[in-house]
């Protein structure tokens, strides 16, 4: 595959990167051009990602569409990319969501009409910047998913913080409950918190990355970051890590991913970041960027440090359970729509991490599907919430009520997004959540039961939110005047909902791709699924 064929994976990442540059270069007065350009680029990326999916042969090699070029020989780094089923699915998710994010944020970044004079307006190009940054994030996320070299992954894992940081800090909701100035302050607090949290995690990972190099350089002919090479060397016994070394390195990696994911108690940046950013950016954070964290746990923590992963599993499972319950309980207690969704996401990331560390095929396939489906469902819920918030200019739940009376379509789509969030059967997230739970239960029954309690809590926070915002009498004039979803907004939400339903009913195309990759991962950690108590029960059809 790798010989001289078209570098499809790289192209999928390079296209949005180039698009970002082009979008940023659009003159200030041509804002609309920038928007359409960005949308077109994102759709083009979607096509390429679709091509990746199509070119990926589920029954073939573990990593496909591989590319390998010399890069920084001194650091033992090659530019190596390639996709397994998990990466292919997540790349597809990323490419899928970006056009919706762009379309949803169509009016989110306009220059102030009361800007500081013509001179300032001429150079300040928030619209171009907004869409360029989104495309830049997309490019980096795609490379992160595709990287099969630890260093390449690390580079983009860290670098994507910067455009994200500008997206969070630079583009908040126009109206803020606490006033304009206070809003700007909280926004920059959120952005800084996001960056520092993740940077700190990333720097700790840097220490571990260097440690990994030292270990490989010590025992192999040359230091390397190549996943495959390290895995092969470990399998052949050529590379042996001392127990403590492996554990320390694992912790370094895991901490960075746990911040990104985020896992309790490293989660507090997420509510701030999601609360203060605009809805499309919030979606970008939780549905796309954070997935890199959980993905990396699956690929790097488990793939590089199988023994340490097994060693850490009990603690990670407990933390994941705490995340599930804690996130859900805090979501119940939130007064702010976006923060509520953020805490709900923390709970969901708990599920994903639980599934990964359950070390069963159901758990890990479930976790992978969960990443995809949670992306779609959160996008649906959060984007509709964004539309709602843009109408009323408030994020506070208490400022709403009775919306379904005046905007039934908005309320309906919001409800479906909410139902997907609470994993209603028939919608996609149910499949993944159930797989995670069943996978967890089959190895750790007690953990499975505690996590199952999460589904009750999910119902509480989703329905409480729906009840408080959408139902009841219309007693606020702002609500009474509220328009229903506009065609653009409907065009954003409807396909997401259709996908949620379709994948809920027929997730097989995705499971077919993901399953072999999960089997490879499980063989990395030398785990097999627990056998059923009663062997050889024939499935009679």
């Amino acid at each position: 595959m790798s010989d001289m064929s078209f570098p499809l994976v790289t192209a999928t990442a390079v296209l949005p990167a180039l698009g970002a540059v082009a979008t940023a270069a659009v003159p200030a007065a041509r804002r609309t051009v920038a928007k359409w350009l960005a949308l077109a680029v994102s759709l083009g990326t979607l096509v390429l990602a679709g091509w990746v999916l199509a070119a990926f042969d589920a029954g073939g090699e573990r990593y496909q569409l591989t590319e390998s070029y010399a890069w920084i020989a001194d650091f033992g780094v090659r530019y190596e990319v390639g996709v397994d089923g998990i990466a292919a699915a997540l790349i597809a998710l990323t490419a899928l969501l970006i056009p919706f994010i762009i379309a949803a944020g169509w009016h989110d970044a306009e220059p102030d009409p009361d800007g500081e004079g013509a001179d300032a307006g001429r150079r300040w190009r928030p619209t171009q910047g907004f869409f360029a940054l989104i495309l830049m994030v997309e490019a980096m996320v795609i490379i992160s998913f595709a990287a099969t070299d630890v260093f390449v992954f690390y580079i983009f894992f860290e670098a994507m913080l910067i455009p994200m940081y500008f997206l969070i800090g630079g583009f908040g909701d126009r109206a803020h409950a606490a006033g304009e100035a206070e809003g700007a302050k909280q926004r920059s607090y959120a952005a800084v918190k996001f960056l520092l949290y993740n940077l700190a995690g990333g720097l700790i990972m840097l220490a571990a990355v260097i440690g990994l190099y030292v270990v490989t350089a010590d025992q192999l002919p040359a230091g390397t970051f190549s996943l495959q090479q390290i895995a092969e060397a470990r399998a052949s016994g050529e590379l042996e890590m001392a127990t403590n070394t492996e554990r320390l390195l694992f912790l370094g990696f895991f901490l960075a991913f746990a911040v990104k994911a985020p896992l309790w108690p490293l989660h507090t940046w997420l509510p701030n970041a999601m609360g203060e950013s605009t809805a499309p950016v919030a979606v970008l954070i939780t549905a796309v960027v954070d997935k890199v964290g959980t993905f990396a746990m699956l690929r790097f923590c488990l793939g590089l440090f199988p023994e340490a992963s097994a060693w850490a599993t009990p603690v990670v499972i407990v933390l994941a359970l705490v995340s599930i319950v804690y996130g859900a309980l805090l979501a119940v207690g939130q007064r702010d729509i976006k923060r509520l969704v953020a805490y709900a996401s923390i709970s969901h990331f708990g599920f994903i991490i639980l599934g990964i560390f359950a070390m069963t095929s159901q758990g890990q396939s479930g976790a992978t599907l969960y990443m995809v489906f949670h992306g779609i469902s959160t996008a649906a819920l959060m984007l509709v919430a964004g539309f709602l918030i843009s109408r009323r200019g408030s994020r506070l739940i208490a400022d709403y009520g009775g919306v379904q009376k005046v905007a039934p379509v908005l309320a309906g789509t919001f409800l479906i997004g909410g139902l997907a969030t609470l994993s209603l059967p028939g919608l996609a997230p149910f499949v993944s959540e159930f797989l995670v739970l069943v996978g967890t239960f089959s190895r750790y029954p007690a953990a499975g039961i505690v996590a199952t309690a999460g589904i009750v809590l999910a119902a509480i926070y989703v329905l409480l939110l729906y009840q408080r915002t959408m139902t009841g009498p219309v007693d606020k004039p702002e609500i009474a005047r509220m328009p229903d979803l506009r065609p653009r907004e409907l065009a954003v939400v409807a396909p997401l909902i259709a996908l949620l339903i379709f994948l809920g009913v027929f997730p097989k195309p995705l499971t077919d791709i993901v399953n072999p990759a999960v089997e490879h991962t499980l063989s990395d950690v030398r785990e097999t699924d627990p056998e059923p108590e009663l062997p050889a029960v024939e499935a009679t059809e």
Binding site: A70, W71, I72, A73, D74, F75, E116, A120, R123, W124, R125, G129, Y154, I155, F156, E158, A159, L161, I162, Y165, F166, G169, G170, A181, A184, R187, S188, A191, V192, L195, L196, L199, A200, L203, I204, L206, A207, I210, G211, Y213, V214, A217
Partner: protein, 552 residues
């Protein structure tokens, strides 16, 4: 390869001696010394220009002379490197006084490039308002005049400028070129003084805020001289211990490989106290120049007070030269004492990283902030120094290359942000800069991110190289501290970015001056190097890697 084998007459002598060599006409390898000679020659010509050329013509001639001098010297460095003097033909020249080897040529190349760019920032004349009918630069019209006095007013009115800065720059660079190449302690000391004295003067020459500028110069001078005193006393003690000032000679004594030590030498060799105390004092003199804790205290004040182009040059080039000298001293002279100085430098590195990062958090002046940042970076580089391996050397070389251009670029940007009182260095004035001048703010953000070590910038590649070398050298704990310090440091870099992009601009905020091509080129080179070294550092890593071995 030893110095003695090259200079034939000295070969017979058991101990290398300046005196004995001087008895015969020494052979000087002019070609190998040409970079330094070209720069110093240009400096001398510059003095003559000051003396004889008409005032109006001086600026143009000096700029051209300095640029050509640096470019020519750089070409000479290139030629030497191509000629293999960085690798297999590496040797000592100038009667054992100067080493021409990989690290020396690499660092000389870096210093010359930095200097070339610095000439551009020195020559910038579009930022200050015109005076006396002509454009002026950011140096004092008449340094001798009392600030605010009649003489100054007259000088300003007349549109005078201080074109002496260019010869001063040339002299300083000449000293810096010699510094990392110095192969005996005498040359080391002379080179130190040759580049320090012009810098003291340059610090005092700001056009605006002259009181601060003068204060900076006084502090820099007094503390610099104080540290020189320590250095020379240390040199004296080392000489007392080894009976020679040649690096190779001292190394031999330290290792105990002298064939037949005389009675005096045998007596002094019996006790290591002289060696240890002398070595420590010499190292301290060098640590002062790199601005490592606890010898860092001059840095913030001098960085803040000096004219910004000078600060940029000084911050970049001094660090390169001083680290080069430190490397050579530790790797060539004192490798036998490795177990003595390694823990000490560990301590200095850790304290530098942490203190620089922590104190920078609460800084309110952008130049002081960058000063503290440079202290933290000194700590990072020291982590590579203590790796005590060829990888360590080359990682430090690479880091210096990366760091110097980021620094130069960052200070060049600082020169652009101005209000009625000159440069607006207080951070509060930078609020909302991203709104007014997105491009300038973005460029500065790139530099800040490089300082913070964000991937895809040169700062990351450098940090990675240094930490990797340190970890391979068994300094894993140092890497962990470095990582923590990086996290703390990230906080204040980010703070500036927040200020620029997410704060509302104040109505009476500064404006961003449109610079001439000089500064634009300087900043452009900075950005380009930052990104190229971040994205495709392999070529430069190779270069640094080949340059990782010292001649002896």
């Amino acid at each position: 390869m030893s110095a003695t084998t090259l200079s034939g007459a000295a070969a017979a002598e058991p101990v290398h001696s300046l005196w004995t060599v001087a008895a015969e006409a020494p052979s000087i390898e002019y070609a190998q010394l040409s970079p330094t000679l070209i720069v110093l020659g240009a400096a001398v010509v510059g003095i003559l220009v000051e003396a004889f050329a008409p005032r109006r013509a001086r600026y143009g001639v000096q700029v051209a002379l300095a640029s050509l001098g640096f470019a020519g010297a750089f070409a000479a460095v290139l030629a030497l490197a191509m000629g293999g003097y960085a690798t297999d033909k590496a040797a000592v020249a100038g009667v054992g006084a100067v080493a021409v080897d990989g690290p020396a040529l690499f660092l000389q190349g870096v210093i010359l490039l930095v200097a070339l760019v610095a000439v551009f920032t020195f020559a910038e004349r579009r930022l200050e308002p015109r005076a006396g009918g002509g454009p002026v630069d950011s140096f004092a019209a008449q340094p001798a005049a009392v600030p605010g006095g009649e003489g100054e007013k007259a000088a300003v009115k007349a549109g005078w400028t201080t074109t002496e800065i260019f010869p001063l720059l040339l002299f300083a660079v000449g000293g810096m070129l010699l510094f990392p190449a110095a192969n005996d302690l005498l040359t080391l000391f002379i080179a130190l003084e040759v580049f320090s004295l012009p810098l003291y003067l340059l610090c005092a020459l700001a056009r605006r805020r002259r009181l601060l500028s003068q204060e900076a110069a006084v502090k820099y001078f007094l503390l610099g001289a104080f540290s020189s005193a320590f250095l020379i006393f240390g040199i004296a003690l080392l000489y007392g211990y080894a009976g020679t000032v040649s690096y190779a000679g001292i190394a031999e004594v330290v290792e105990g490989t002298v064939p037949s030590p005389g009675p005096a030498l045998a007596a002094s060799m019996s006790s290591d106290a002289l060696l240890l105390v002398g070595g420590a004092m010499v190292v301290m003199g060098l640590l002062f120049k790199v601005g490592a804790v606890p010898f860092h205290m001059w840095t913030p004040d001098v960085y803040q007070g000096a004219p910004t182009p000078v600060t940029g040059f000084m911050a970049a080039a001094t660090k390169v030269a001083a680290f080069g000298a430190l490397l050579r001293l530790l790797y060539v002279v004192l490798p036998g004492l490795r177990w003595d100085w390694e823990p000490v430098l560990w301590g200095v590195a850790i304290v530098s990283m942490l203190l620089g990062a922590v104190v920078a958090i609460t800084q309110t002046d952008v130049k002081r902030l960058l000063a503290y940042s440079s202290i933290a970076h000194a700590g990072f580089i020291l982590a590579g120094v203590v790796a005590t391996s060829p990888e360590g050397v080359s990682s430090v070389l690479f880091y210096l290359l990366a760091y110097s251009f980021v620094t130069l670029g960052a200070f060049s940007v600082v020169t652009l942000v101005r209000d009625a009182g000159g440069e607006a260095t207080h951070l509060s004035k930078w609020a909302g800069l991203g709104r007014r001048s997105p491009l300038v703010a973005a460029v500065f953000a790139v530099f800040l991110l490089a300082f913070a070590g964000i991937p895809l910038t040169s700062g990351f590649a450098g940090k990675f190289a240094v930490f990797k070398a340190a970890a391979e050298g068994g300094a894993g704990a140092l890497v962990v501290v470095g990582v923590i310090a990086s996290a703390i440091a990230a906080f204040f870099y980010v703070r500036v970015i927040v200020l620029m992009f997410f704060s509302e601009p104040s109505p009476e905020g500064p404006t961003v001056a449109i610079p001439s091509a000089f500064t634009t080129v300087a900043i452009g080179v900075g950005v380009a190097v930052t990104l190229v070294l971040g994205v495709a550092p392999q070529y430069f890593l190779d270069l640094a890697g080949q340059a990782g071995v010292f001649v002896r």
